[in-house]
Amino acid sequence: MSARVTLAVAGRVLTQVRRDHRTLAMLLLLPCLLMTLLWWMFLDLPGDVFDGIGPGLLAIFPFTVMFLVTSVTTLRERGSGTLERLLSMPMGKLDFLLGYALAFGLLAAVQSALAVGVSVGLLGLEVNGPVWLLGVVAVVDAVLGTALGLLVSAFADTEFQAVQFMPAFVIPQLLLCGLFVAREFLPPVLQAISDVLPLSYAVDAMQELVGAADQASVWADVAVVLGFALAGLALGAATLRRRTA
C-alpha cells in the first residue's frame, strides 16, 4: 500500500468529475432538490412526517449515488484497459480502491453538507444531535456505496448490467431500512434480513440523530456501516485480478 498512489487515484477521479460539469452539478444539487420536493409533499399534512422520513433520505442519497457512479466508472476502467495498465504497474489493489473511496467520500461530504444545510437551515428539519454528525454518517454511507459499487462492477460485463444491480442491491435495502415500515414492525423474517443489511444501520443512525440523539448509539451504527464498507472493499480487492482470461 502506498499513500502516494492512493492520493494519485483520488486526485485523478476528482479531476475527472470536475471536468464533467453536468455530473458535478447533479451530484451536488439533486439531493437538495429532492429534499425540497419531499418537504413540499408533506407541507399540507398534519404532523411532522418530513422529520420522520427526511433523515432516512439523507442517508440513502450518498449511498445510492455513489453506488451507481462507482460501479459504472470502475466498469469503464475495466473496459478501457486503464485498469489492466494500472495493475501491470506498481499499484496495490487497495491503493486503487481506497483512492476511489477517498474521492467519492470527499464528494459525499460536500454533497451532504449541502443537503443537510438545506434541510436543517431552509426546510426546518429538526435535529437534536450535532449536525456535523449527520455529515459523518453521510460520508460513511457514501464510502459504503463506493465499496459495494466497486464490488458489483466485478460481476457486470456491460453498463446495462451494472445499472441493473441498483434494483437488485439498493432497492431491497431501501424497502427494508425502516423508511416505509419501522423495522420493529416488519415480519420476523424480513426483520432478520433487515438486520444484516448495511443501509438499515445508516438510516438508524440518521433517525437517532434526529430523535433521541444518543451519540453512543449513533457511533455504534456508524461502526457497523463502516464495517460493511471495509468488508466490501476487501472483497472488491479480491475481485481485481492482475491476470485475467
Binding site: 502516494r4 494519485a8 484497459g81 501491470s88 504497474m89 506498481p90 492482475r242 485475467t244
Partner: protein, 242 residues
C-alpha cells in the same frame, strides 16, 4: 554450438517456453517458445492470430494454462518487473476525460516518476502541441500516442507495444519507428506487434505469427529470402507448410 546457445539465452530479455493459453475453450497459444533480445523485434501476423495474448502473457496480465514466461530473468508479472516493463494495450488505455498532461501526470505519480519526465514523454510522441487537450477530443492516432507516452514513463527496460502505429500518418509512423530504434540503441528491448506486413522492414528482428504459432523467426532479409516482400514470404511459408 552449445556455447552460443547459452550466450543467446544470457542475452535474452524475454524467454517464453512451451506457453499454452486457453481462452473461452479455445487454445489461442498451443505451446509457443521464443526468445527476444534487445533491439526492435516485430511480432507480425493477421488479427486474431494470438499476438495480443502473447504480449499480455509477457506483461503478466494474461492467465496462462501452462509453460513459462521470463522477463529479465524474472517470472512475467513479478512485482519487481512492474516498473521495468512499459506496456501499451491495443485500445488506448488512457482516460478520455483528462488532458494528455493530466493522464501523464497521473501515471507518473503511480510509477513514482519525476514530473520532468512527463514533458519528455509527451515530446517523444510529438504531442507537445496537444498537451492540454482532453484525450477524448483527439484523433485515434493521437490517443494511441498519448497511450504510448505513458509506457515511456520511468524509462523501462522492456517495452511491449500492441499495434502502436495502427492508423497513423506515414510521417508519424516513421518517426515512431525511429523512436523505437533510439530506445533500442540505448539497450532496451522493444517488442512491437503489427498486422501490417509492410512494417516488417523497420524491425531488427521479425517473428511471423499465424494461428497461435511462430511460423518464421529471423531478420527481415532472412525471412524474405527470395520473395519480393514479407507478405509474399508469409504466403510461401504458409503454403509450403500446408
Amino acid at each position: 554450438m552449445a556455447g552460443s546457445t547459452i550466450q543467446r539465452m544470457m542475452n535474452n530479455v524475454i524467454d517464453i517456453r512451451e506457453l499454452v493459453v486457453v481462452r473461452g475453450g479455445h487454445e489461442v497459444l498451443p505451446g509457443i517458445s521464443l526468445a527476444v533480445a534487445a533491439g526492435v523485434t516485430g511480432l507480425l501476423g493477421p488479427s486474431g492470430c494470438g499476438k495480443s495474448t502473447l504480449l499480455r502473457a509477457v506483461v503478466g496480465v494474461q492467465r496462462v494454462r501452462s509453460g513459462g514466461v521470463e522477463v529479465l530473468g524474472l517470472p512475467a508479472g513479478d512485482r519487481r518487473l512492474r516498473d521495468r516493463v512499459g506496456y501499451v494495450t491495443q485500445a488506448a488505455s488512457v482516460y478520455d476525460d483528462l488532458t494528455v498532461a493530466e493522464n501523464l501526470h497521473f501515471f507518473a505519480r503511480v510509477l513514482g516518476v519525476d514530473r520532468a519526465e512527463v514533458d519528455e514523454a509527451i515530446a517523444a510522441v510529438d504531442l507537445a502541441d496537444r498537451r492540454d487537450h482532453v484525450v477524448g477530443n483527439l484523433s485515434g492516432g493521437q490517443r494511441s500516442r498519448a497511450s504510448l507516452a505513458v509506457a515511456l514513463l520511468g524509462d523501462p527496460d522492456v517495452l511491449v507495444l500492441d499495434e502502436p502505429t495502427v492508423g497513423l500518418d506515414p510521417v508519424l509512423r516513421r518517426d515512431l519507428w525511429r523512436l523505437f530504434h533510439r530506445l533500442a540503441d540505448s539497450g532496451k528491448a522493444v517488442l512491437v506487434s503489427s498486422h501490417v506486413m509492410d512494417e516488417a522492414d523497420r524491425c531488427d528482428r521479425l517473428l511471423l505469427m499465424r494461428e497461435g504459432r511462430i511460423i518464421a523467426d529471423g531478420t527481415p532479409a532472412e525471412i524474405r529470402g527470395g520473395a519480393p516482400d514479407i507478405e509474399a514470404a508469409f504466403l510461401q511459408i504458409v503454403e509450403g507448410a500446408a
